[in-house]
Amino acid sequence: MEVKKIFLPESELPRQWYNIAADMPTPLEPPLHPGTGQPVGPDDLAPIFPMPLIEQEVSQQQFIDIPEAVLEKYLIWRPTPMYRAFNLEKHLDTPARIYFKNEGVSPAGSHKPNTALAQAYYNKISGTKRITTETGAGQWGSALSMCCCLFGLECKVYMVKVSYQQKPYRRLMMETWGAKCTPSPSSETNAGRKILEKNPDSPGSLGIAISEAVEAAVMDEETKYSLGSVLNHVLLHQTVVGQEAQKQMAQFGDYPDVVIGCAGGGSNFAGMTFPFIRDKINGKQVEILAVEPASCPTMTRGPFAYDFGDTVQMTPLLPMHTLGHSFVPEPIHAGGLRYHGMAPLVSQLILDNLITPMAIPQLETFEAGITFARTEGFISAPETDHAVAALIREALKAKEEGKEKVLLLNWSGHGLVDMAAYEAYLSGKLKNYELPQEEIDRALSDIEPLPKPKQYRK
């Protein structure tokens, strides 16, 4: 019987986080303070973050030791198992060897506690009594609640009101771990009160919830704020995932040709891929795929043709499945919004061609999630389904090409608290409206004068 999964012994838990900032081909420029125009310094961030995290945010040290107290608590769920997806391989009839790292085994059900735990620890040793944060559906809020609880810190979560009303189970998880969860906008902060004065029925937003959480931290010296994505120190803490994966792949006797992660704020993606990108910088052949949502069904409705990569027509003509560069309303791509929510480290690595971005439409992600659940058993978080969908595309591509590719997926979390999304899919409520042919024709007329690639097809 072939080995299905590998559990590393606890002694193999990584002792250091990997800091890719030390190896970046194009170093990130320091952010400038919007008020002074000067590079952001520790004092600017000190009202909301403890100093050890600020130091990590700007660190150029390649490896940073993980404190013993964090290692001890990582052992609650780490090292996480890596699986060979035999059933999915068989179902897809692919020659690819598929592996996935299961980050859904943490108590909060995702990779998020990898940084929540570290942040709670550094706050604890810095004298913080209470941590504030914001959350939408509650994946981050629940992770931070659990980790604050493990280090004896109070946790205050401003949960977007529409999410608070729609996601009671995540809220109850937070409260079970002792956090105080408040629907945002609330009457507890100036930011919240201003919104409520204008609109007492405001459903809230992440922007409002962040304002409340930051304000609460600035107002009280014993309170700090915590963020679960985007920032450098958050991505740093996640690199335990990829370092464990490297050891597990070696035990399987394999090395990935393609590493895949979903990239929203970038943290699970970075956690898995940064150690492999280090290998790539040092000469290894490995493709890194960052998968994001797309709503435009270009692959199914558009021809394969040359098109501009953006609506301002600055990028070179690229052969692609397209509905024409003007199909997506101009501001979306012209404003650079596609990546604006992504971590700066990830964005820079895309620009340096070390990461390949990929967009997958919503329906395909749920189809992939169902396939994964019915073959490997695990029900993925909807975000994770994006990566699963990319994995399936790659596996089918390997089949078409007849190549025994090795594919590695970061299975970043389970979807057991997100079943409403699956219900919407299974009941057909997510079915897209059909695009009217006249709208497609109008968009395609824009690319009609452009040159056609050799393999042009309608």
Partner: protein
């Protein structure tokens, strides 16, 4: 099949990539302090002619603020919020 010219009602929901759960168009329409969420066009354009609909509803200035102004990096947003909160704290202590 013809596209509907008005937004789907609140029974029709799509997944919000910011919040991580299903939301109706009525939420996206006001998410940004009464203005549409910056991702509204991207998320909804396959479901109905959202750009035409919002162009009728928004003034050019509102459209610009909602969709054309570039998004700010998270660090900049945090620094702005810290400054705002510090000012509020100082005013509160006077």
């Amino acid at each position: 099949m013809k596209h509907p010219v008005i937004p789907p009602d609140d029974r029709f929901k799509i997944r919000c990539r910011k919040l991580g759960h299903q939301v109706a168009f009525s939420y996206c329409r006001v998410e940004n302090q009464g203005l549409p969420c910056a991702k509204t066009l991207d998320c909804w354009h396959i479901h109905f002619p959202v750009a035409s609909h919002l162009k009728k509803e928004l003034t050019p200035d509102q459209w610009h603020r909602a969709f054309v102004s570039p998004g700010r990096p998270k660090m900049m947003t945090l620094l702005d919020l810290i400054e705002q909160a510090k000012r509020a704290k100082e005013e509160g202590s006077k």
